[in-house]
Amino acid sequence: MSEDFEELYKQRKDRISRAVQLKEPDRVPLIESYGYFAARYAGITSYEFLYDYDKAQEAVVKTAIDFGYDTGGAMYSLGALPLTLAFIGEYDGLAPSFVNGPIHDILGVRYARFPGRELPIDSPFQFIGEEYMKADEYDQFIDDPKRFIAEKLLPRSLRSLEKPCSAKAMSALYRWGIEYRRSVDASLMLRQKLRDYGFAGFTEGMSYAPLDFIGDFMRDLKNVLLDCYRQPDKVKQAAEAMKGIIIEMARISARSSPPGTIQFIPLHLNEYFSPKQYKEFYWPTLKEVINELIRLGIIPEIFYEGQHNAHLETILELPKGKTISRFEKTDLSKAKRLIGEHSCIVGGPPASLFLTTPAKVDSYVKDLFDEVKQGGGFILSPAVPIPPSSKPENVKALMDAVKKYGVY
């Protein structure tokens, strides 16, 4: 690594870490959310981005260098927590919690559709919620959640594991292990390359809100919401049962995570709930997961997806300076006023800003920083991946505007 890049790396790392600690860095950090834009920009298809590790790496590195945000990006994949949770306690480590192209093919993941397979070659992958657990199966799940996940959820949601112990199922698991090694090697290599070019990392690993697991992977989002009216006690018990496994996962992951590792927790049901339901069904078990991660020396970056205005105050119940709060549609100035001295805020422009003009990007950043920059503890980042068709001049304009208005 050249000295300049090493210096740049330290600067960026320090910039991010000061913001996370609620201090003022030299300027507002800018964290990437390139998503499929990196593929489009580098001239490869979504299919190649998800299936060809070499091409994907090149695309991410090129995009990182050309736009120069503080972080560089990572291999793109879909979350696949059921696999990780099914095998917890069976061996020392954690089974992988992601699905990329080859793994999708090997396991036959029903809850995802991938480009070049079920979708046109240049489409983003899709997550499809399905009802893998029926409304009357809550008791079975609550009774032994790990067993339910391994013996019911996996065969129902993965085509290759439809018949457990069949040759097809066993060979799929074997191939999955090999592919997992290849993909992890590719990820590590990419991380090293980006570090060599002076880019800081951000999140590593993930955790989950217990009730979201039930909504995303078992009952489907709509059904779990209806269950809150139809069988509220079962929903609460299921969230409790889920919490136990997620905390187990957190403890195992902490063994290989140095203190200060940032773990990502994407929330999904949050914006659907009324404050009363949020506090009744969702927040209690999520809060315990977050507190456990903090005890383990991990900094949770909680992505409050969609509109979180109604639940902002609950963030004040978490320990001060120990979490990162990522927002999407939530009013960032309101968040700054309410929780700005309590949790580092990450947020930024809506996806569509990247389809407009550099002048609009510039004025967005100027106006936003007027509201949220003061006192530090703020990181700029588009909350969801920017559109693949974003205009490169707008992606660049975001960095330019941060340099122009973001210095403390």
């Binding site: 489409s123 659907y272 009324s274 969609g306 996806a351 569509s352 559109p387 693949p388």
Partner: protein
Amino acid sequence: MPTQDNIIDAFLNLDESATRQLVKSMLDAGVNPVKIMEECRKGMLAVGERFERYEFFLSDMIMAAEIFKEVTEQIRPYFSGSASEARGKVVIGTVEGDIHDIGKNIFTALLEVEGFDVIDLGVDVPPSRFVDAIRAHSPNIVGMSCLLSTSIEDMKKTVDAIAEAGLRDKTRIIIGGGRLERNAAEYIKPDAYTDNASQGVKMCIELMRSKENE
């Protein structure tokens, strides 16, 4: 004997079994099904109003739409004559590449409550199916729904396909979705956009009025 107030209250309490029970006893008592349906509509409207005032949240709307769907099915077999004339016809669908239907379903329930005839094309609807449906049904309004930020591109493609088929001036287009805002709308160029189902229905009523005045 249950009354209209009971049904509205049952809706506002999001009480699924009470609402169904009330409808059943009214049907059993021989109350005109048109009148019962009208009362359910008022209940659903009241729920929509609370949503618009931020007193109800999405989960409440999802439950209310579910109850409304159930009672509609409960009452349907009792209808004999033709329904009253529709306020307007809406073709609706979630655009290609997106399979989210919660927003679309809430919007559809509220449109039906306001007396619109809704033709639902489902999810992941390619532009050509929107074009075909416009030709087949001549709707006053076309509604496109999405949740994903990547759908901005697909919405634009759909609007462009409608224009290329020479149908853009034959219908009004409203787009809706949790991630839509002004910049996206300027790019997609519909006649109206919203991220709120209840407001979307008001916009459709407005679009019908402006059409009448042409």
